[in-house]
């Protein structure tokens, strides 16, 4: 069993133009073991993506206090590629598009980056694995020969993130709003991919606004994040409770003095979510 542990994490970002530093995470504690599925819910602007990018090692986020460890070893001093090879995977909200590199080439390079030079994956076993996974995700072979995310629709990009997840088989996957921009059918397909990964050696941290995703990927624990902190942790029923009361309801119930930046725009953001075509 492996453990990903976040302790009293404080993170700031710098505003390049205004030359100011703003604290986004204000002391986050979180422990995820392999074999577990966690969900973090919370309104926009509350630091959910900051948490996932910081764990992954995005250089734009500055850790000012606290630690992130895998099996007791701090990863904060390690660059993003090293963290990836240690077993972290972040399914990104906005994956980059890269011309000239095919999806398949990229995935093979990613797999091989974890293997010794004299133990690179054979093209045959790679293709076999790829074939199996694109079937699960209802993707076409043609998509693997296209340039990496180039010209992919929002939904295709999300599926492609999950395809990479299934090919790379990390220890811990952080899924940053993998449900945004997906229609219900695509969501089911993506969830099936994630569920197939379930094993005692795999842990998941899902980040989402909505309870909907949790109908398809069942969490062991649900954490609610507000204003840079985790304010409540519970089981799957907490998500349902949230769905009923809304974030504002929970805030008031807990008596938290958190400023929900998206107090009134949250619901409309959902209505305009673009579907998977």
């Amino acid at each position: 069993m492996s453990t990903l542990k976040v302790t009293d994490l404080h993170v700031s970002v710098t505003d390049e133009e205004e030359k100011t530093e703003r604290e986004i995470l204000k002391g986050v504690d979180l422990t995820i073991n392999t074999g577990e599925t966690h969900a973090i819910m919370g309104p926009n602007g509350t630091g959910k993506s900051t948490l996932s990018e910081t764990i992954m090692g995005n250089p734009n986020y500055i850790v000012t206090q606290g630690d992130v460890t895998i099996d007791g070893e701090s990863i904060l001093g390690k660059p993003v590629d090293e963290r990836a090879r240690l077993g972290l995977f972040l399914a990104m909200q906005y994956p980059a598009e890269i011309k000239g590199i095919t999806n398949a080439e990229f995935m093979r390079a990613a797999i091989n980056s974890r293997r010794a030079d004299d133990d690179q994956i054979s093209i045959r076993s790679f293709l076999k694995e790829l074939d199996k996974n694109i079937k699960t995700l209802n993707m076409t072979e043609e998509m693997t020969e296209r340039y990496l995310n180039e010209g992919f629709s929002g939904g295709e990009k999300k599926r492609n993130e999950i395809l990479q997840l299934m090919m790379i088989k990390p220890k811990f996957a952080i899924l940053d709003e993998i449900d945004s921009g997906l229609d219900i059918d695509a969501l089911q397909v993506v969830a099936q991919g994630v569920n197939e990964m379930a094993s005692p050696d795999f842990g998941t941290l899902m980040i989402t606004h909505y309870q909907r995703l949790l109908n398809y990927i069942h969490p062991d624990q649900v954490h609610v994040m507000m204003d840079g902190r985790i304010v409540k942790t519970g089981d799957a029923s907490l998500a349902e409770e949230l769905e009923e009361k809304g974030y504002a309801g929970l805030r008031d119930e807990l008596g938290i003095d958190a400023n929900l930046v998206d107090d009134d725009v949250d619901q409309t953001a959902d209505a305009t979510g673009n579907g998977d075509d």
Binding site: F89, L90, K99, S113, Y147
Partner: protein
């Protein structure tokens, strides 16, 4: 324009360059070019100051080393022609091509055995010996090279491949001149590899004249990887007659300072040139590439597509020149020059130059100089790729638009392998 301070042209050089039993017409060509060389100015390469480079510091006592290294010997099988310095190691084409009248031999042999044919094309149509000092010096001192002549209506399916090795195991001059001619309605693919053996410091002068007769089609690919201690001048020139086409694909992957002039003169109506260049600069080297297409003929078309990558403290300049001569109705000239810089200390420049003297034409250009997108790097690295591998993938992707256009798969793979090697070497010192 200043004449170079580095002009060191001793008459001894002229007599040393002469081939054995050289016919008089060739000696005369050398002599007349030699006489003009001193008066001619160096060619202008915009934004590149190369005047202090020892491009003309030829060894007056230049030696010939006829010992052929094993690794070159081992490669001869993959080529039709192999030379080391002035020594021809191999020159062979299939018998059926000989029967069809194809001429293929080194320059020395051609001057004797095919004097009439060679003299018709050597420094007459494509490159002129008195254009500037560097062409004049190439004409005076040429000491190696190939003559390929494809008669009318002959189509050669298999590429003709040349490996021309600069011998820098000692002070040896390398003044290389090649002439490729396709007569009416013929076609051929040619691959030219240039590389250096040895660590001595020498200049190199490499010229290729490509003359495409009416209706003929030439695919010319080149891969240059001369050494860090070589100061190189390249001149590759196409002379295109009516309805002929030349597709150029050039990989400028030298390790030393380089100036290169890649020109296509679209003389004939309906003639067409596609020019694709990839260049990588590393270390402290400077590479300056002038690629020009001149539309003379009506309905002629010339397209330039160039991609360059810079590492470390290197410099790379692409000057793309599209020139349309008055009277070239309905002609087209397009160019795209893009440069990617990996190091803050590198200096890249992409200059489109359009000179248009005709109204009824379509011309356009695009140019950019940029850095590797940090978001792309982060994304690739977040999947476990090291920064170096991620950079190389982004670079190969950037060059991909040219690489995928390379018509011969073997050349494409060779070019990609060479690019990767050069990038790995450049990254090692970053």
């Amino acid at each position: 324009m200043p004449k170079s301070a580095v002009l060191a042209l001793d008459p001894v050089l002229l007599s040393a360059a002469k081939f054995d039993d050289e016919p008089q017409w060739l000696t005369d060509l050398r002599q007349s070019s030699w006489d003009k060389a001193k008066e001619l100015a160096l060619p202008e390469f915009a934004k590149i100051n190369y005047r202090h480079w020892p491009l003309l510091e030829f060894a007056q006592d230049g030696q010939t080393n006829t010992n052929i290294p094993d690794d070159i010997q081992a490669e001869t099988e993959s080529y039709n022609f192999v030379s080391v310095g002035k020594t021809t190691v191999k020159s062979a084409i299939p018998d059926d091509l000989v029967k069809q009248g194809v001429v293929f031999c080194d320059l020395q042999t051609a001057a004797k055995k095919h004097a009439e044919l060679l003299s018709k094309y050597l420094f007459t149509k494509a490159i002129k010996p008195d254009e500037d000092r560097l062409t004049a010096v190439n004409a005076s001192l040429m000491d190696s090279g190939v003559f390929l002549y494809v008669p009318h209506d002959v189509s050669i399916k298999e590429p003709i491949s040349l490996l021309q090795v600069q011998d820098s195991r000692q002070k040896t001059n390398f003044v290389n001149h090649n002439v490729i001619v396709t007569d009416d309605n013929s076609s051929v693919q040619v691959l030219q590899r240039t590389e250096t053996i040895g660590d001595a410091e020498n200049p190199a002068s490499v010229a290729v004249e490509v003359i495409s007769g009416p209706g003929s089609h030439i695919k010319f690919s080149s891969l240059d990887s001369l050494s860090e201690k070589t100061n190189a001048y390249f001149n590759r020139r196409g002379h295109l007659e009516k309805d002929s086409e030349i597709d150029w694909t050039m990989g400028v992957l030298n390790d030393g300072n380089t100036i290169a002039d890649f020109d296509s003169d679209l003389k004939g109506t309906g003639s067409h040139a596609e020019v694709q260049t990839v260049a990588i600069s590393t270390g402290k080297q400077t590479q300056g590439i002038d690629t020009s297409v001149t539309n003379y003929g009506k309905h002629s078309e010339g397209n330039i597509l160039q991609r360059g990558v810079l590492l470390e403290k290197s410099a790379l300049v692409f000057n793309g020149v599209g020139k349309i001569i008055h009277g070239a109705h309905g002609s087209k000239a397009q160019q795209e020059n893009r440069i990617l810089m990996l190091s803050p200390e590198a200096r890249g420049d992409a200059n489109p130059i359009l000179l248009i003297d005709e109204n009824d034409v379509i011309a356009g250009h695009a140019a950019s100089v940029g850095r590797v997108d940090q978001k792309q790097l982060y994304y690739l690295m977040s999947r476990g790729l090291t920064k170096e591998v991620a950079q190389r993938l982004v670079i190969l992707g950037f060059l991909g638009v040219v690489l995928t256009e390379i018509p011969i798969a073997a050349v494409r793979n060779q070019m990609i392998a060479m690019i990767e090697r050069k990038l790995i070497n450049g990254q090692r010192t970053e």
